[in-house]
Symmetry: C2
Subunit: 265 residues, 2 copies
């Protein structure tokens, strides 16, 4: 073949092949929903308002057509939800100020279910992160880090998931679930450039935290939090693309979050 | 060059080029937020509960750290929101039953702002769709069709956007905005295989509709609706990828929707 024919051939193959890849990138993957439903069963912090759905109308309307509508109420921080930096950091971003780019990125899934199985009050250590990196390489810039503690298996059993099914101030002493140790949060902000952190527990800090310092450290560096994330066991360790879109509450400190991941084979 | 070398060359170029495309596809585009904020200004149907944000706590907590939290309430169908098929079709899908795949897809933007500029009670005609197709080709299977009526320019001025700033049953007679003619909805479900329909008005049907037949036709065919969609003027006619994630309300007939689009140059 002449060089000219070879060139045309290469360009043609490239055009066909790359067009195909661009098209299948979105449409060929599988969406995994990492979100719990809002219902009477949704788990909230013991001192928070819970989810309430009120019927506006259900049935045949006067005009002769079927019609259903509801109204709802909720605390910001229940179910699968976003923590905006302002939740624990004065002057931090509120919900509507967080750019979509900050809420979307490739996921890094760090499995800490082994130490949590031994101790449900476990605090995720810097060594959990560095051990992961020894196997998979440094957490890439722009990642969304998801800690899989295994607590998601207990949802929606509040006693098993939170450590208590009681409600009110007194129940706070009974909270028992794992979270991120403030030193590990500090290591992340000093050493890695990530967009957000999520986990399958109700809080970035562990249940017995009194000052919520992991929250403070991350939020001071404008890293948003995703809490009560569902179905983390369905994600690969790397390669899933996460899209986490909160209800756009102006000046909100948090919001219901619909978080999904696109996974390719 | 021998055929063998040509083959290796082609494969190498392919590998490099296609890997690059897969990697940049997500991260190189620009996210456009097609969502209005929820606040006191958010426009609701005249008979609906509006958005309410209640302060739980703002300031220095007992533990010596900064803390902010709120609770909120809303009707399902206000602001930028999803209409689930069950809203107007008995037995249709409720919010949590709609697959993510149904809420994500390439957008087709059909501009009907010209006839709307002449008549704000305009009903989008089948000919508006077929004219678009004459220029851009048939609406591809799996598209999300977004009608740009131009009404978004009036948000958040309720009188300009809805036709009335009054509230309550009596205000319904004053509603004046465009929507989809039931015949055009019928043409869509009979001739095209789309995932969802959205527009920059408060309702799929026009303001003076009494039976909401465009809703009925689309919902009977399990095509979800996106209403009060923002920033449609920032989308190209084709090529934007839309991701529309509603708050996951179990058995909801609708929900606050965070709808975004990824646009490549």
């Amino acid at each position: 073949m002449s060089t000219r024919i070879v060139s045309i051939f290469v360009l043609l193959i490239l055009a066909i092949a790359c067009t195909r890849v661009e098209q299948v990138d979105w449409e060929d993957g599988t969406w995994i929903d990492l979100t719990y439903e809002y219902s009477d069963e949704t788990i909230y912090w013991p001192t928070s308002d819970t989810f309430q759905l009120d019927t506006v109308f259900v049935g045949e309307a006067e005009g002769g057509y079927y019609y259903e509508a509801y109204a709802f109420a909720s605390a910001e921080h229940g179910g699968t939800h976003l923590d905006a930096p302002i939740h624990f950091y004065e002057g931090g971003e509120s919900v509507e100020q967080i750019e979509i780019d900050q809420l979307t990125g490739y996921a890094v899934v760090i499995d800490v279910s082994e130490p949590v199985a031994d101790n449900r009050d476990y605090q995720i250590q810097t060594s959990d992160i560095t051990s992961w990196e020894e196997e998979y390489g440094p957490i890439p810039d722009g990642s969304i880090v998801l800690f899989k503690t295994g607590m998601g298996a207990y949802w929606p059993d509040a006693e098993a998931y939170l450590g208590t099914a009681n409600r009110g101030e007194d129940a706070l002493a009974e909270l028992s679930f794992p979270g991120i140790h403030p030193d590990a949060a500090q290591w992340i902000v000093e050493n890695r450039d990530i967009k957000a952190v999520g986990l399958d527990t109700p809080s970035l800090d562990y249940g017995q935290s009194e000052r919520y310092e992991a929250h403070q450290v991350l939020f001071e560096h404008n890293i948003a939090g995703f809490e009560n994330v569902a179905n983390l066991d369905q994600l690969p360790t790397t390669g899933a693309y996460v899209i986490a879109l909160p209800m756009k509450i102006k000046e909100g400190s948090g919001a219901p979050l619909r978080i999904v991941a696109l996974v390719h084979e």
